[in-house]
Symmetry: C2
Subunit: 206 residues, 2 copies
């Protein structure tokens, strides 16, 4: 297909498509003349992925690039790759500290693994610090509510990895972390909305 | 306390504290002389809240202001307030469309409430669109996994609202939406990490 079609199908403007090509994020099409090139489905899906990360997740370009690099050339063991993928996602926190006391206490309480080198530990520390002084409950009981839900979800998410090739598993882990999060949050917001609508209906029919 | 202490306790630099005061986001302290003022615990908790929204959630200042306005002067019914709170949070999407076909189909499948005026519907639409062409599964089975987890969480979150005054309920709903999300996501990432560590341990002892 032509670049104009690629732009139309992906919803990404032609100028932006050209920018991604210049930046090396999207491969060039196959030249068909001095001024035009042919693009295939692999270009379309790559472009959709870039748009998903940049537009839907709102990631800065440097972070999109990090994630593409992980998917293109998975280096290291799965834990290391997961760590890099998580580090490319917000919230961007200072991950260089030797200890994260709030996260350490919570993780011990919840029976998870405390590894100060894994960015989500620093992210949990900041998230817990943010709750302090807001009057919101961050007791073990409340944290367990979130943790139990996420452990069940994570166990189902991780299950298919056993039957995947390494590169497929990496793509799944990296993109799954980045792209299922907005789904999860939208569904939490919709569940609140649904409960309020139900309650209003019940009150009206009293 | 003095402004320097307020800055130290909150971790927000003095210049930024002064900026929030000028912007009307933080009340002035009580003047104790021509050049100094006294700040109380209510200043500290307000400042922590602003920092939580601006720094941990990374919200633009205009969005922080919207959320503070909702908490300060709750207007409308709970559904409307929830809608505004959700609209102040990312992902920022075009919420003016008449219909969101992907979200509509998913919501019908999941037994939630479809209201195109509620921003999370547009957010789900974008999140589902982002999954297309990435090879990640967005079938009803997978969506149900997330939806069931979020419905259980939401039911527990909504339960204490019944015993709250309106203004307290609004603060809880608005801040709970904004500030428990980073906790939830950090715990999902930590659950993945924990599962990988466990698996590596099991493989090593084989």
């Amino acid at each position: 297909m032509k670049i104009s079609q690629l732009a139309e199908l992906s919803g990404v403007p032609v100028a932006t498509v050209k920018f991604y090509i210049r930046e090396g994020m999207l491969p060039r099409g196959e030249a068909t003349s001095a001024t035009s090139a042919d693009y295939g489905d692999e270009h379309l899906s790559r472009l959709r992925l870039i748009a998903a990360l940049a537009d839907v997740r709102g990631l800065p370009l440097a972070r999109v690039r990090e994630i593409l690099a992980l998917v293109d050339a998975p280096v290291g063991d799965p834990l290391e790759i997961l760590g890099r993928a998580v580090g490319a996602l917000p919230p961007y926190v200072d991950g260089d500290r030797a200890d994260y006391p709030r996260a350490r206490a919570a993780i011990a309480e919840l029976g998870l693994t405390y590894d100060p080198g894994f960015t989500a530990v620093a992210q949990l520390e900041e998230a817990l610090r943010a709750l302090e002084g807001t009057g919101l409950d961050a007791s073990p009981t409340v944290l367990r509510r979130y943790s139990e839900a996420m452990r069940r979800v994570a166990a189902e998410e991780v299950a298919p990895v056993a039957s995947m090739q390494l590169d497929q598993a990496v793509t799944y882990a990296v993109l799954g972390t980045a792209l299922y999060e907005p789904v999860l949050l939208a569904l939490r917001r919709l569940a609140h909305h649904h409960l309020l609508v139900e309650r209003a209906g019940a009150a009206a029919s009293d």
